[in-house]
């Protein structure tokens, strides 16, 4: 019997001990019956514990309860129970409420919502509700509802169910005339001039993201030091969009560098004037130097007319020295191309068409000697808004480029030839998560040259291999005969796992496939394949990437004109993206 009593006593003492361990004394007279995570911070305690000799020496119990409710809400505890005992106020925080479902209710148009799928199971806190409200509003603001607002509410009768009351406001088409420049900006720019950088079309559904992209363009071109749009609503309707910001000095000097295992170090220096004349034309001089390529370029975007703000003349004068594995050449070029950009609903298209004169001297490699070309060059470049918006951390979007050049021996040229180059890139954010979990990418390129007799300069021949295309081969290693190919293609795919590792480290898997040929649009075996893996690190000073790939030749000899022995290839680079 004595043992039994002893056991009972021990059990009671253990129970009391567990209870005492679970209790959290906030301050004398206030304790939590179970610990909360994280514990109350010193500042939080300041609002619930009296501070002697100050105006906060006495805090009414109702105020303590109010503050504690808020503090516990920030940890997901919604139903605290307050009990006044002899030792003071004892608070049972209650369970943590977690998101089970999000239900949308609309007071305006009913619009299918496309929120990122990362809510379920998270503790329901005010900051989470803010996040849901912001995401809901942003989602609608990006889809023609600039005055959309959302209020997320949690009702006790349905714990875990977040009810989002969405006030969509009016469906709005944004007109250029809705943009209102701040007075300080009007001194420097006109609305028509700035419209050349608008990432949206006139009288098209409003998209907040396109306003951000426009501000990004303003800053990127140097017109503004900082720029931001503020949509202003009245009674649920868009009244105007204010453009504010600061205008920097017009001249800009930049000295930059990057590196990779191909070019070792890339250095670049430029001087740019971003506000030449009344139409804010730009003039830039740039020097680029790496182990493989040195270039001096002077270019201008000469905007001729305010009524046609997207049309410009682009004179370019350049001198280039290339030092690659299979060739070395010098070239001097001049072009004068009318160009125009078009804003499409999903992206921007740039068209360039004009004459270009090139004087080339090949020191080493095929077709050595002096070559002069007078070409007609055309180029079409498309860049989707989403890819442009996320340029430094690309997650999704499309870009493609088609360029064609033609020259004829009858007009100041040493050869009659044509060249077509096509490049396509597409990225997918799988699942639409934010932040992204898996980013899938694909690159595709098709190039071809045709000529009649004569010599060809190196940039009419195509080489494969390197971090840009087949990552299992070294830079421009293929074809192995060093003569280059007159046709080439490659397809690269990559899966980047953006949220797998901490500290911004993102592992990636890739597989590249390519082929080359010596006639227009004809490809020889073997097929070059390079699977591999890598790591991307988004550091405070930019993106570092490292890949390790293995190059294979499939369907042909590993030696000879086209073949190449299999081998591993490592690339490390700074600033490069897929």
């Amino acid at each position: 019997m004595r043992h039994r009593s002893l056991y009972k006593l021990l059990i009671v003492l253990m129970f009391l001990g567990v209870q005492a361990a679970a209790m959290e004394l906030v301050c004398p007279g206030l304790s939590l019956s179970t610990r909360v995570s994280p514990s109350l911070s010193q500042n939080e305690k300041t609002f619930v514990c009296p501070s002697p000799e100050s105006a906060w020496a006495s805090i009414p119990r109702a105020q303590i309860k109010r503050h504690l409710r808020a503090i516990l809400q920030s940890r997901g505890h919604h139903k605290p129970i307050f009990e006044v005992r002899a030792e003071g106020l004892v608070v049972d925080p209650g369970p943590v409420s977690r998101v089970n479902e999000i239900e949308f209710r609309f007071s305006g148009d009913s619009v299918p919502m496309t929120l990122p799928q990362n809510w379920k199971g998270r503790p329901i806190t005010p900051s989470l509700l803010n996040e849901i409200e912001r995401s809901s509003a942003v989602d609608l603001q990006n889809r023609a509802y600039p005055c959309a607002g959302a209020r997320a509410t949690v009702f006790a009768q349905r714990p875990g169910n977040v009810v989002v009351q969405v006030d969509t406001g009016a469906f709005t088409k944004l007109k250029f005339s809705d943009i209102e420049l701040a007075p300080s900006l009007k001194k420097n720019y006109s609305s028509a001039l700035l419209s050349r950088y608008y990432a949206f079309l006139n009288n098209r559904p409003f998209d907040q993201q396109m306003l951000l992209l426009t501000a990004q363009r303003f800053e990127g071109t140097g017109l503004f030091e900082s720029a931001y749009f503020i949509p202003q609503c009245e009674n649920g309707n868009l009244a105007r969009v204010s453009l504010r910001g600061t205008v920097g000095l017009p001249r800009l000097v930049r000295v930059g560098m990057g590196f990779d295992t191909e070019g070792i170090v890339k250095a670049r220096a430029s001087w740019r004037h971003v506000r030449l004349g009344a139409n804010a034309s730009t003039l830039e001089m740039m020097v680029l130097a790496s182990r493989n390529r040195q270039e001096l370029t002077s270019s201008m975007k000469w905007y001729l007319s305010t009524p046609a703000p997207r049309f410009y003349l682009m004179p370019v004068l350049s001198g280039v020295h290339q030092f690659e594995q299979h060739f070395e050449s010098f070239s001097l070029g001049f072009s004068l191309s009318p160009a125009m950009t078009f804003e499409l609903p999903t992206g921007q298209l740039e068209l360039v068409l004009g004459p270009a004169f090139q004087k080339n001297f090949t020191v080493r490699g095929p077709d050595q000697g002096d070559i002069s070309l007078l070409m007609l060059e055309s180029r079409m470049v498309y860049l989707s808004h989403s890819l442009e918006f996320q340029a430094s951390d690309p997650l999704e979007g499309t870009s493609w480029q088609l360029s064609v050049a033609a020259t004829d021996r009858a007009i100041l040229s040493d050869v009659s030839a044509w060249r077509m180059r096509f490049f396509f890139r597409r990225l997918w954010n799988i699942g639409g998560y934010e932040p992204a979990r898996v980013v899938l990418g694909m690159r595709l390129s098709l190039n071809s040259t045709g000529h009649v007799g004569g010599k060809l300069p190196p940039d009419f021949r195509f080489y494969l291999g390197g971090s840009d295309n087949l990552r299992g081969f070294s830079r421009l290693e293929l074809p192995s005969n060093g003569l280059g190919a007159l046709s080439s293609f490659y397809v690269s795919t990559e899966a980047r796992f953006a949220a797998l590792l901490p500290w911004g480290l993102q592992p990636l898997l890739f597989a590249d496939v390519g082929a080359a040929g010596d006639s227009p649009f004809e490809f020889h075996s073997p097929l070059y394949v390079s699977p591999g893996f890598g790591l991307r690190w988004s550091s405070p000073i930019g993106v570092f990437r490292a890949t390790l790939g293995h190059g294979f030749s499939i369907g042909g000899s590993t030696s000879g004109r086209w073949g190449r022995p299999s081998h591993w290839q490592l690339f490390v680079g700074y600033g490069e993206e897929f």
Partner: protein, 766 residues
């Protein structure tokens, strides 16, 4: 013929005499055969006559006999199974009755004895089928004085149980039972008692069960009556009791006194009444006084009352002419407040109500009085009249109310343990608060109340002196609505913020979006639409000083806020020049200006403009702040000129030449600031914290700082937005440094456009 003619008079005389004898015999037959009075033939004719009047009489006799009891006195002894009288709107049936009635015939007809009359059971059913005649004015109370023939020497009537049913549109409304006992009292009076019990089926009545006892006694020249009754609801929380005694003298008014009271919501109340009803019933004068126990109030208010609310003497005068008019005079309501509040505020009122027109006037006066908590006076007078579009109210422009709370601490103490406690740090203030209201009628359905508010509150380190003017407008036209416009000017303000450390600003007010208790998910439109326009501002040269342990001297603020119920918050807040501790140095805020810019959406933009100077022995650093509060833009300058990195190094570590770890921290800080990833609060905490190191993740835009707060504490100062990040081709990581990302437009290697590439760049504008 002549003989015949001679015989004719005799024949006629004989005939007349014979007829007379027959008639006399017939007339006198009841005298000899009194049972004839209740014969079937008589009853047949009685029924016939009643049917012609719309009344059916049904009789089932058990026994009936009529006899001469004495000279000139007839005694009726009857016994019946059932006697029913059925009319159009009511039926009454008596069952199992037996009784005796003695009437005297000489010298005049008189009922000498009534009873013993015992009726075992009765049923009364009244049907009201919506055919009520319209009442033309109030009906005069019928006061019947018993005629002399109806004053029997002996009365002994006993109706054991009469069941009563009243129907309203074929639905039983009331059912109940009563009994009747009448007997002859001393001095020739007749005394009757009618105990009754009633159940109400209708839900329109709070009271469901009623028990009453009516006693009346007819004396020689007057009637005395007493009514005692009690009614209760389904539960016993609502009880009504009536105890009235009165007397009615023939040809004179009816005098009565007594009490009406009971419990309402468990709280006792009582009104003592004394009144007189005129003989014609057209005038009622009533004097009443009474009390209402504070138990009737909700618990949280009840404790503020010391005892019951007293209705002092109040005179009511009602006139029942074509319209009923009720006048009130000299009525006083006294509210005895609890000891902490002190005082017994009295409200005096008088007025007149005319029914059924529902018009009249009411005047309420709060005489100048002072309690421990308050001092004040007021007067409200209004005329009212119900019209088709609602109540028409005309308030006397002389109406005014002035209340002053001379000791704010009394209010603090009073409310301290309540949900409405004055919060810290305002609960440390002492002084006075005054409110004045005046009436300004506008049209028949609008009333404007110009109001003024003054406070003069102080404590050792705090002060709040306010002067407010405004208007409260109420409109009871088509919809009831109210609007408050108030312009509050802070003449003097000093407050003490709680002692804080630099580890983040907590949320201290519960989020209204999280409902801890069950509430309706969708609410209908408010019946009372209330809107407000508040402007709170500091006087022209006044400052509101906020002291805090983080500030070497109180922060002088000036503000002008506009808070409206139907518009977003707008306003400005200015931090006037002040010395603060920043970057472990004494810094001077030259100006910091916040502007709330309405965007029409939930999240408004707070624009910033400011400049702060930080002085070092060899340098003077100026910090410019622009942009918005969640994405502030920081510009740094110095004299003599230093590079941005050197300035940051100087600010964070107090030295412009640093080791590699500190250089990394400087770069991270610069990157975070350049990307505007830190909100203003996070920036301030960084500026006030002894920093060991800072790291910045540009992807999440999170800044993590190791600070020396006691032991090493890692503080996450994430200020970046999580949604769409605003990153671009040229992402700045410092004032003159950027990571530039490009999509090249082709190269001369012939390999086609390469992947997106980037450069780490130094840049400068000039």
């Amino acid at each position: 013929m002549a003989e015949q003619n001679k015989k004719s008079p005799q024949f006629l005389l004989r005939g007349f005499l014979l007829t007379s004898v027959v008639v006399l015999l017939l007339f006198l037959s009841p005298v000899f055969f009194p049972n004839l009075l209740l014969s079937d033939t008589v009853m047949y004719w009685v029924q016939k006559i009643l049917i012609s009047e719309g009344v059916a009489l049904e009789l089932q006799w058990k026994q009936r006999s009529v006899r001469w009891r004495a000279w000139g006195e007839l005694q009726f002894d009857v016994g019946f199974e059932k006697v029913c009288v059925r009319a159009k709107k009511s039926d009454v049936c008596f069952h199992e009755g037996k009784g005796t009635l003695v009437v005297g015939l000489f010298p005049v007809f008189k009922i000498e004895e009534l009873g013993p009359l015992n009726i075992a059971r009765a049923e009364l059913s009244v049907r009201n089928e919506g055919e009520n005649e319209k009442v033309k004015g109030p009906s005069s109370p019928t006061v019947v004085s018993l005629p002399t023939w109806l004053r029997p020497r002996r009365v002994d009537v006993q109706l054991k149980q009469a069941n009563v049913e009243i129907f309203e549109d074929q639905r039983k409304w009331i059912e109940g039972s009563l009994s009747l006992m009448c007997s002859r009292a001393k001095a020739g009076a007749i005394r009757c008692e009618i105990p009754a019990r009633v159940n109400v089926a209708s839900n329109d009545f709070v009271y469901k069960r009623m028990n009453a006892r009516l006693e009346f006694e007819n004396k020689s020249d007057h009637w005395d009556f007493a009514l005692k009754g009690e009614a209760s609801g389904v539960a016993t929380s609502h009880i009504l009791s009536v105890d009235l005694k009165g007397t009615k003298k023939l040809g004179h008014e009816t005098l009565f006194q007594g009490s009406v009271g009971g419990r309402w919501n468990r709280a006792p109340w009582q009104l003592r009444l004394q009144g007189a009803l005129s003989d014609e019933g057209k005038q009622l004068d009533l004097t009443t006084r009474g009390f209402v126990s504070p138990l009737a109030l909700e618990k949280k208010y009840r404790r503020h009352l010391k005892e019951s609310i007293q209705l002092q003497k109040c005179s009511l005068s009602a006139s029942f002419e074509s319209n009923t008019s009720v006048k009130m005079q000299g009525c006083t309501l006294e509210v005895p407040l609890a000891a902490g509040l002190g005082g017994r505020p009295r409200f005096e009122w008088e007025g007149e109500v005319v029914l059924p027109a529902q018009r009249g006037r009411l005047a309420v006066t709060l005489p100048q009085q002072a309690g421990k908590l308050y001092a004040g006076s007021g007067f409200l007078s209004a005329r009212f009249e119900k019209r088709e579009k609602g109540m028409h109210l005309k308030v006397d422009p002389q109406s005014t109310l002035s209340i002053e709370v001379p000791r704010f601490q009394k209010v603090v103490a009073l409310l301290d343990d309540s949900p409405f406690a004055v919060p810290a740090p305002f609960n440390a203030l002492s002084g006075s608060v005054g409110v004045q209201l005046q009436a300004q009628p506008e049209g028949s359905t609008k009333l404007k109340l110009p109001l003024s508010l003054k406070t003069d509150l102080r404590s050792a380190r705090q002060a709040l002196k306010l002067d407010g003017k405004g208007m409260f407008a109420i409109d009871w036209g088509a919809e009831l609505s109210g609007k408050l416009e108030l312009d509050l000017v802070v003449l003097e303000g000093k407050f003490e913020a709680p002692p804080l450390s630099l580890t983040g600003v907590p949320s201290i007010l519960p989020d209204s979006r999280i409902h801890p208790r069950q509430v309706p998910e969708a609410t209908g439109p408010d019946r009372f639409a209330f809107s407000y326009v508040l402007r709170i501002r500091t006087a022209d040269k006044a400052r509101v000083y906020v002291a805090n342990n983080l500030l070497p001297q109180p922060l002088p603020l000036g503000f002008d806020f506009n808070i409206q119920s139907e518009a977003p918050f707008t306003g400005t807040l200015t931090v006037h020049p002040v010395r603060v501790m920043l970057f472990r140095r004494e810094a001077r805020v030259r100006q910091l200006h916040f502007s709330w810019v309405p965007t029409g959406k939930k999240a408004d933009v707070v624009e910033l403009r400011g400049r702060i100077d930080v002085n070092y022995p060899d340098y003077s650093v100026n910090v410019g702040v622009t942009g918005t509060s969640d994405r502030p833009r920081i510009s740094l300058g110095s004299s003599p000129p230093l590079t941005r990195q050197e300035i940051i190094a100087l600010l964070l570590f107090g030295d412009e030449s640093l080791g590699s770890e500190q250089q990394n921290s400087v770069s991270s800080f610069d990157a975070a600031v350049a990307q505007r990833s830190l909100g203003l609060a996070a920036l301030y905490i960084l500026a006030r914290t002894p920093i060991q190191s800072i790291s910045f993740d540009p992807r999440t835009q999170a800044v993590t700082a190791n600070v020396r707060v006691g032991q090493n504490t890692t503080v996450n100062l994430t200020g970046g937005s999580q949604g769409n990040k605003r990153v671009g081709f040229s992402r700045r990581i410092g004032k003159n440094w950027a990571v530039t990302t490009e999509v090249p437009l082709g190269d001369s290697t012939g390999s086609g456009p390469s992947g997106i590439s980037g450069f780490l760049e130094w840049f400068n504008r000039f």
